[in-house]
């Protein structure tokens, strides 16, 4: 008996499919799918024609925030975290565009980086700000200027994680609420961080850095602390996500 070519092809394909089905039934359960993606948005404040504050050494705030953003991006990328930045150079980016970038990235953490060396000598370390919007439940369509309201609770939790890491790094930290258009429009856990020079007392307590804003050691210490905090935040996020997945029927 002689088989025609099309019939032979169909028969072989059917055999192969049956074999795969049998193998799938006998194989052990596949490992859990890789954890959900984790994206961090770094927003280096100011830029272009907006220099921000003028620091005591003559440096503009925009330059320092960009340097910190680049340093932190490298640290996070080395730890396998996907990073989206609002600017990579001395470019002017308006507040709405910054929020647009963050919202399109669907990030799990958004950090707006600032720097200042004004105020009294006792005002030192890092200031963490969360949006002053009142917390609100999740909504399908959020108003642009108050989009952060649904995320404020998560933002407060993120600020707590950052606070712990910065304190662990020996820095002085204050927490406060603020009305900042850039983070009020973000649909992600968002925190504005203002880095200030470290007081002589804190800087001298076993640290090598002088605590000045332009000190590379101090910048590295801040970036390391923020990277450690974001790693911790990733673990918490995955744990929370896993809890939600298990709770689903």
């Amino acid at each position: 008996m002689r088989w025609s070519k099309p019939v032979l092809k169909w028969a072989l394909a059917a055999l192969a499919a049956a074999g795969q089905l049998a193998a799938a039934q006998q194989a052990p359960p596949a490992p859990a799918a890789p954890a959900v993606r984790f994206v961090v948005v770094l927003d280096a404040a100011h830029g272009g024609g907006d220099p921000g504050g003028r620091l005591s050494d003559g440096q503009a705030e925009k330059a320092l925030t960009l340097a910190l953003s680049v340093r932190l991006r490298s640290l996070l990328a080395a730890r396998g975290i996907q990073v989206v930045t609002t600017r990579e150079s001395d470019a002017s980016v308006d507040q709405d565009r910054r929020a647009e970038i963050a919202n399109h990235a669907r990030a799990q953490a958004c950090l707006s980086l600032h720097a200042s060396d004004t105020g009294s000598a006792n005002s030192s370390g890092a200031h963490l700000f969360v949006s002053s919007l009142a917390p609100a439940g999740p909504v399908r369509f959020a108003a642009w200027k108050t989009a952060q309201a649904s995320w404020v609770t998560r933002s407060v939790a993120l600020a707590g994680t950052l606070n712990s890491a910065l304190l662990h790094a020996g820095m002085t930290v204050t927490l406060a609420r603020i009305a900042l258009p850039a983070i009020d429009s973000m649909t992600c856990p968002a925190v504005a961080i203002e880095i200030t020079p470290e007081s002589a007392k804190s800087a001298g307590s076993g640290q090598q850095s002088t605590g000045a804003l332009d000190d590379p050691d101090y910048q590295a210490r801040v970036a390391e602390a923020l990277a450690a905090a974001l790693l911790e935040w990733r673990t918490e996020s995955w744990r929370t996500e896993a809890g939600h997945t298990e709770a689903r029927p």
Partner: protein, 218 residues
């Protein structure tokens, strides 16, 4: 014996002196009335002549990012707008002092004007027309603070320092004028996006957001 013509001349001169004296007295009275009328039309009452009262100031402290309540005795005019300006002037004088906990140059002259008006809303009783008819409104009020450009130009730049300035102004206004529930800012009479690069001046601030009970963080 005095000649007759001399007697007549003496009487004429005497009468002329009396008439001139009366005329001078009337002119003096008219000038005095004009002077008083000019003083009455002055736009504001000088705070120095007002009675000293207790004013509650919410003073910012950069050390821990808090607002501390401080009671000061200072002359306060009765007009609410002038009263608000006097209180805020005292607050900014504290910030301009050498040992300030929240140093900002400028002082009292940094407040150009303070305007008080009913809070705009759907309620017709708080419309500007009704406010014009009854200037002594009893509802919640919006304070519009006009800062000088020099104040904004010399204000230190930073998230914390600018936020503390705005919140301390809002809190101080509410502590002394409880009807003020909302505050907006102008700089040289014009809207401005930020105070010194950070604090948003385009929004309306609610004074309830900045009133601490005792030295709490904003």
């Amino acid at each position: 014996m005095i000649p007759r013509y001399q007697a007549v001349l003496f009487i004429v001169l005497l009468v002329a002196s009396v008439v001139m004296g009366v005329a001078l007295w009337q002119l003096r009275e008219r000038a005095h009335q004009r002077l008083l009328a000019g003083q009455d039309s002055a736009p504001t009452q000088a705070p120095e002549v007002a009675q000293a009262e207790q004013a509650t100031l919410l003073v910012a402290n950069d050390a821990d990012g808090s607002l501390l309540t401080q009671v000061q005795s200072l002359p306060l005019p009765q007009d609410p707008g002038a009263r608000a300006r006097a209180v805020l002037g005292k607050l900014l004088d504290l910030y301009a002092a050498p040992d300030a906990t929240h140093p900002i140059p400028g002082g009292a002259n940094s407040i150009a004007q303070v305007f008080l008006m009913p809070v705009p809303g759907p309620d017709s009783s708080s419309s500007p027309d009704s406010a014009a008819k009854s200037p002594q409104s009893t509802g919640p009020e919006l304070a519009v603070i006009n800062l000088t450009g020099a104040f904004a130009a010399t204000h230190p730049s930073g998230l914390e320092t600018e936020t503390l300035t705005v919140l301390s102004i809002c809190g101080t206004l509410h502590a002394n004028l409880p009807r003020v529930t909302q505050v907006r800012f102008l700089v040289d009479g014009q809207p401005r996006s930020t105070l010194a690069g950070h604090a948003d001046l385009t929004r309306t601030y609610l004074t309830t957001d900045s009133v601490p009970s005792e030295g709490v963080h904003p």
